[in-house]
């Protein structure tokens, strides 16, 4: 695991990629405490992705790059997640948010666009049949010697591998869940704005499978464990508290 000081800085990953076979790029801003959507979310997501690809392109040992994208690169903010009939998502879907809308929009819109543009920076679109087309500028220009795979998880929940300093400093996803788990027994349960999730340990495994399988080369995958509702979380909470 390598952490670099600034993913936007040119050559940020040049030392980190020396001699490596596979790269898993997980870094991208995900929080809504922003003052400038473009500076705080959009540019770091897109440039961070491009920078790691550019640095990987200079390192002949690299065979594949796995990029953590997001379900946010697929779904459209403002649509009712509970509309009937339910919207069906697969790897052919992209959210329609434009860069300009994201700059002026609320942080959640900016986050969605940041993941879309970061992923588009890595590779292009898919046909309806799922056949993959590399059409991005990076690929056209650099013709990389490695394959690229993107993974699109929705809400990621589960036990952190590290010890968060405090409950007030949990990551954005677990923080949302903790609000429900720690609320009083008569508290109102809000609807989940993205009623899909994946366990953090499962999305970690998805990266490893993508890294190890030749089938994953130049593919995009949604990585969704299941649908869920906050009501289900709340009911699990009751069992947790009783079991303590």
């Amino acid at each position: 695991m390598v952490t670099v000081p600034d993913i936007v800085a040119p050559g940020a990953f040049s030392a980190a990629v020396k001699g490596v076979d596979s790269i898993i790029h997980v870094a991208s801003p995900y929080h809504f405490r922003v003052t400038d959507n473009e500076k705080d979310l959009l540019i770091p997501a897109r440039e961070g992705t491009l920078n790691i690809l550019r640095d990987a392109a200079k390192e002949k040992s690299v065979k594949n790059v796995i990029i953590t994208s997001s379900f946010a690169a697929l779904n459209q903010l403002g649509t009712d997640p509970y509309a009937e009939p339910p919207k069906v998502y697969d790897e052919s879907v992209w959210n329609p948010v434009t860069w300009e809308e994201a700059v002026k929009g609320v942080p959640r819109t900016a986050y969605q666009a940041s993941k879309k543009y970061a992923e588009l920076a890595a590779h292009g679109s898919f046909t309806r049949s799922g056949a993959f087309k590399l059409i991005v500028e990076f690929v056209k220009k650099e013709n990389p010697h490695f394959s690229i795979t993107t993974l699109c998880p929705p809400m990621i929940y589960g036990p952190p591998i590290h010890s968060p300093p405090s409950l007030s400093e949990l990551n954005e996803s677990n923080s949302q869940l903790w609000k429900i788990i720690s609320s009083g027994k008569d508290a109102q349960v809000p609807e989940a704005h993205t009623p899909l999730y994946v366990d953090v340990r499962d999305i970690a495994m998805a990266h490893i499978l993508a890294m190890e399988s030749p089938k994953a080369a130049n593919q995009r995958y949604t990585v969704v464990g299941a649908q869920y509702s906050n009501q289900e979380v709340s009911l699990s909470k009751a069992k947790l508290i009783v079991g303590r």
Binding site: E191, Y221, V223, S229, Q231
Partner: protein, 49 residues
Amino acid sequence: MGKPGVYKRGYICDSKKIKEELGMKFRTLKETIEDLGQVLFSMYDKEQK
């Protein structure tokens, strides 16, 4: 607990592609919440002391 009407399903995405192509398997929501809950309640208990 909770308000009526929120126990309903939303988007559909079965991640069939990664299951079929890479043999991906997933944990249940129960496993995720229970394991996360253990960690968070343990932190909560420490912070209350």
